[in-house]
Symmetry: C2
Amino acid sequence: MNLKVNKNRLWQSLMQMAEIGPGKHGGSCRLALTDVDIESRNLFKRWASEAGCCFRLDSMGNLFARREGENPDVAPIIMGSHLDTQPCGGRFDGVLGVLGALEILRVLQENNIKTEHPLEIAVWMNEEGARFSPAMMGSGVFSGVFKESEIYSHKDINGISVEQALHRSNQLGNEPCKSFPIKAYYELHIEQGPVLELNNKTIGVVTGAQGISWSHVTLNGQSAHAGTTPMNYRKDPVIGMARIVKGLQKIIKEQEGALYTIGRIESQPASINSVASKVFFTLDLRHGDDATLNKLQQEFKNLVSETCAAEGLTNTIKDIWQAPAISFDKNCISKVKAATEHLGYSYQKIISGAGHDACQIASVAPVSMIFIPCEGGLSHNEAESISPEDAAAGADVLLNAVLESAVIN
Amino acid sequence: MNLKVNKNRLWQSLMQMAEIGPGKHGGSCRLALTDVDIESRNLFKRWASEAGCCFRLDSMGNLFARREGENPDVAPIIMGSHLDTQPCGGRFDGVLGVLGALEILRVLQENNIKTEHPLEIAVWMNEEGARFSPAMMGSGVFSGVFKESEIYSHKDINGISVEQALHRSNQLGNEPCKSFPIKAYYELHIEQGPVLELNNKTIGVVTGAQGISWSHVTLNGQSAHAGTTPMNYRKDPVIGMARIVKGLQKIIKEQEGALYTIGRIESQPASINSVASKVFFTLDLRHGDDATLNKLQQEFKNLVSETCAAEGLTNTIKDIWQAPAISFDKNCISKVKAATEHLGYSYQKIISGAGHDACQIASVAPVSMIFIPCEGGLSHNEAESISPEDAAAGADVLLNAVLESAVIN
């Protein structure tokens, strides 16, 4: 069998959904649990209802649309993502995963295909973290990564708590928010990076998510007069910092798949005619393998020590956050890969650089993801752009991977 | 003749003066035209009066103590510096130049030495620029570098203008503040840098002051997701900045006497998990020769262009201030050098890295300066420290250079 989705119907649904909470520059603005977010959920519910679904809402506002299977006693296959967006978000981040899943139920309905396992579409609450911190909130509580009572107290900038917002928007459901047996979870998403486009691939078979380590680094030198202090008498942390950047370039280049970002730099006392006494910078270090990430961290620390010794500086490095790498389920990954090959789409294996609801669900269920290219890798931006063909290709893969898991009778 | 100053008397005067407006950590705090600044002037006037001086005060509060010469029709030799200090200033910055000059008049008086030319000690108003901006204010108006009416309107942090402060402190003198014929101007000062100490020299024969250029530099890249953007796809201004620092190190190393300082660095949007879109930094570039300074500036601009081209960045460089190099008077320099050699003190030629009243006076009179070492090059700090021996050596050189200019009858 070589079932495909309806490209035009999927695209029209994406375009229609984007009109709810329209952005000023062609994107969408639907912060979690705002009126427009609820409007988007209502539109989704109308469509899913027409596709034969019934609904459950849990105590974190996670919405599940269920298409029954032939066997009521077996665990469902879940597809999902989110409908909330960044304040100046694009039309596809999250939305593609929900409406792609809807398109699959539509195809099954019109082809009168029944599955052994129930199929559900999960619409996770506040994936973006733009209104309430942290991100991946609904899926995080569902997976037990976050504690519901604690999360309830988090407030938006107007002082409205998550719990209040759930009440006001009628999204505080009766179901307790906790994980239940799931046969497999598949999430279709735009890549939010440029790799597939650069490599001219239609599908990214996502094998996991990067491990991340965040550090705060301070180099301490000696403030000195810019006019009276000879170069070789200085202890200049700016020079130390430049050497560290150069050293990091080399370390990262030699390690396949490694990424580093120094996003924030500040010097003190920040005077044009004084040698700086301090330079503060942040380090974001990533790799798909935890052991390699640890090795890179150690190499960075050695680099800082050696540089400071050479430049007469001292340093402090604070490791402020670490997220382990996530490996998705081998069986789910192979179903996505098999579906892609079967359909004849070009693909590559890829590790997700961004966080997704799937990363939370991976701790309680077998998971994989399907990426499609987005133009220039741009996301979290109203100009976010994908092609209808790639959207349909991603949904085709989702459809076939899900059917492999769900068992057609 | 091999006349020398009285080391102990000079040191005691320095220590006594430092008790006026004492700092909390052994230094002094005498902001321009405050009560303690006036108290220091009064002590100086008492001492200078005892050494046979009469006084003039000009409309910028510059105080001149005059010891008449044999010939009333010839131009005076002026020695001078300032008595005001930084808020947490040392005991010697400026004060040594005034009290060293006083010591010379004392020596001449007790030895009953008469000179053909009159000798004057100038106490310049607000050299530090700590209460009123800019620095070197009194000598600047005297030399025509600043305009008096404009400077009068500058205010301190309490909203008191220079003119008001001159009135209130009774330092608005009858003499118009403008230059008059000066045979030679000598200023004794601490080096405020580590060069003499490092080279184990007692005297710095100051040949001029560095040219300075200040620039604001912005490197523009592209903000991107730290997790989804491959290293080779980034336009990271942090990497560009690090390459520029490395390149500058090379340029400066190859140019004898060149200094550069990047004192202020800031990245935008300053997010730990985003590649920076911009890096702003300042450049302070110095050299004792203007043509060389211009060449260095051009090399820096080429470096920025080449780096940006290689890293996919754009840039803007704003040249915000430039001060030309100052060459002191050959005749005055050779008198300082001859006096030093005659006295047998170790010395080296040196270019001043800091600004001094002498740098302003150089535009209206023949000028040179005499530096002595200060511990660790530390200045503008209460811990500023010199030895009584070096202080006396500097005053010895001042004495002999002045006598060469003033002509003993």
